[in-house]
Amino acid sequence: MTIQNTSKARTTGGNPVLKRLNSLNLLGPIVALLLASAFFATQSDRFLSGQNFSLILQQVMVVGVMAIGQTLIILTAGIDLSCGMVMVLGTIVMTKLAVESGLNPILAIMAGALVSTAVGFLNGLLVTRIKLPPFIVTLGTYNIAFAITQIYSNAQTQTGLPAALTFFGNTFHIGGTAITYGTVLMIVLYIVVWIFLTETAPGRHIYAVGNNPEAARLTGIPTNRVLLGVYTMAGLIYSVAGLLLVSRTGVGDPNAGATDNLDTITAVVLGGTSLFGGRGMIFGTLLGALIVGVFRNGLTLTGVPSVYQILITGILVILAVAADQLTRKKA
């Protein structure tokens, strides 16, 4: 589409920090986040507190981690509709093995991670070997993972988990604000993936493949290996999200994750990553996830009924991206 090409000639005069953020596509999301926060701060005096922010971080933690995998896939011009279900399948394997089969919790976690990663690998195989569109592949594995989860769990929630499974739900304190280990893990993951994407050759290859797969192939980049790697890595990342979900809720819930596909994609797109691949910045995704979290939290604090919250969210998604688009054009 042309639509996104208009932003190609983009330079901001003035402030170098702004310029840098703008060139990274981060200016839009940051402005949106700040504006929203400022607005809610005037509406509720409870909004601006360390504890409330820690809370928002916890709430976006699961979708935020999943969105890392989604970002990698979208950078290659793919899309993953299966992510929520792949995550849930992993959590059910972890918790059921740990609780019902009494497996060592660490082994159970590894088994769950293995299953999620395997589904990611399967996605990758179908995309690279049979050249199926990622949309279809992941729509298929969405249904498959969903059905297997229901069958394997018998639709029962797993409770009474061993402590190791909920470790990341524990908190430590910084100046009176309780912070969960899970949010720290999320931040660490973002930093690791950021370094991977910007500072390593395989990371840059992901961009190249998303940008122009034919050019990438002709310059000797193993396009298929890059794609397969991305889908597999995404599967692994989803299982980390799954572990965080288990830590947060304290149970293995086969009905979780149903709406997470759209939520992760929303976070990625709000974060300025192009759905056409090859352009985007991993921290944008974190900002995107935070924007959604801040709105949900802020609207509740201000007492907006949930139907209206949906309405406002719809309008804001459009406004946020529109603002991003318009600032870029100006600049």
Binding site: S44, R46, F47, N52, L55, Q58, Q59, V62, Q150, N154, A155, Q156, T157, T159, T171, A178, L245, R248, T249, G250, V251, D253, P254, N255, A256, A258, T259, R296, N297, T300, L301, G303, P305, S306, V307, I310
Partner: protein, 303 residues
Amino acid sequence: ADQPIIGLITKTETNPFFVKMKEGAQKAAKAKGAKLLTGAGKADGDNAGQVTALENMIAAGAKTILITPNNAQAIVPALEKARKQGVMVIALDSPTDPESAVDALFATDNYKAGMLIGQYAKAAFGNKPVKIATLDLFPGHPVGIDRHNGFLNGYGIKNDKDARVVCMQDSYGDQAKGQTAMENCLQKDPEINLVYTINEPAAAGAYQALKAIGREKEVMIVSIDGGCTGVKNVQAGVIAATSQQYPLKMASLGVEAGVNYILTGKKTTGYTDTGVTLITDKRMKGVPSKDTKFGLNNCWGVK
């Protein structure tokens, strides 16, 4: 002779309540030598998916359809068409509107289920100041609305505008979403001391949120469903009281009626209340209830 074929259409594929219902139906069908077809809406509220399942089951030769309607009114024309073809239709769990659209109804009264926990909470709070949070289903869902209104009414609150209701959020009946909703409610008003939840997963989520700020002991959570996990949570003090319903009973009654119709041509009619029981280990005067031992013996799900 042909094996009797019975169709069971649940609201969704995923809710353990319906999964249990399916199991009960399967067991009863096996016992009676009938073949059970199952289907479901694609999501909570999906009427079109249920209509499609219904049509396909009749095409497959089902002579009795058991259905938990996603939309009490929207399903009616399809049911009427089915009945014109000589199919007996029994609504399970929730009624159709009008109720005459089906031959029989084996159900539980969701409004009453809400009312019971409302009355229980009122008895517990007396005249103490109360700040209520409600974790509802999602916009527009009739079961959610019935339970919610029943609860308020049971507590003696007329409507949502009442100042005692300080926060109303949708939990989608999902534990993680319930937790997020509760956390945000507590940010809004940290002094919430009574939580109504649409179902027990949402209640567990609310509990997690309360525990995180160390208030789980001071806040009463009431819920609805009576699943085994839920009853165990009552036993553990996570939930103060829950209204127990009986999906297995609905299903097995339904299958028996269906087989009976197919073999004898005699239709079952009318409303059979499969009952609601308040389960709690802390009885309140004036509110009839049973303890968790009873609850566990009659619960659905994995004991």
